[in-house]
Subunit: 161 residues, 2 copies
């Protein structure tokens, strides 16, 4: 099972976040931040019917993340945690996930809000966000139990750049 899996970017994310430092650490901390998602021409037919959704899931490649660590000190904590218990970008497979607000689609460009993604990030996939599919409203969140409430005010400090 150690075969490589190869993916090809289907587009690119444009955002005001040019450097890891100061970038919001989650969409919840990026309320209102606008961005655009440019889908390459050959994939645009796949965007039909997407505009009916108010929120979409973006999967993307953390292109600025080099290598990985199995233990990281996450932005919202001061202690090292297992990387799979965090959303830090230095993961074995550096795939990012953000749920953003979709405002409109024009010529293959998605205009979105709540963008916590670095400028020029390669896009891997877009999925419609459906509350019934994408998880419960109540969940136990381990070490994040306190920090999740204050995450809205926090920004990245560049530690994973």
């Amino acid at each position: 099972m150690s075969t490589k899996i190869a993916y090809t970017p289907i587009g690119i994310v444009h955002s005001p976040h040019r450097r890891p430092r100061g970038t919001p650490i989650q969409p919840a901390t990026a309320a209102g931040v606008p961005g655009t998602v440019e889908v390459f021409e050959e994939y645009r037919e796949g965007l039909r019917d997407l505009e009916g959704f108010s929120h979409i899931v973006l999967l993307y490649h953390f292109h600025r993340s080099k290598g990985f660590s199995l233990r990281v000190v996450p932005f919202l904590d001061t202690r090292p945690r297992g990387v799979f218990a965090t959303r830090a970008p230095k993961r074995p497979n550096p795939i990012g996930l953000s749920v953003v607000r979709l405002k409109r689609i024009e010529n293959g460009v998605l205009h979105v809000r709540n963008v916590d993604i670095l400028d020029n990030t390669p896009l891997l996939d877009i999925k419609p966000y459906v509350p019934e599919f994408d998880g419960p409203t109540e969940a136990r969140t381990g070490w994040l139990e306190k920090a999740r409430k204050t995450a809205r005010r926090r920004k990245a400090d560049g530690r994973f750049a």
Copy 2:
């Protein structure tokens, strides 16, 4: 930006779903279905602190999906839709996303529930699920607006096998 991105599986999902036909189409339709996620030994240190979370996000490779279509007739509809407005597996980058219930972790094996994933699926990433990060409880869901309420009773019919 058409450079290939290469990922390596970090583990493998074991489930009772051996064939695409009859597999639940979303975790919400797979309530209670047990499965295990085997994380390869070299990545297990990254699982520390994960057990505090009641729900986790699994990202995986739809290994049984060959090629892709930009328009698909999804399980919950009778009309073709843009693939990015669906959760169908025949996507340009066939990455699957499921939020599952985490029961316990033993020797690098995660015991989970609500599994809508095929047996032997290569695992790409695990993230902690945090309601505040992973999307709003209210959202507009386009063509899925009616079907999302009945999705709980639906199974896959093998059309993307």
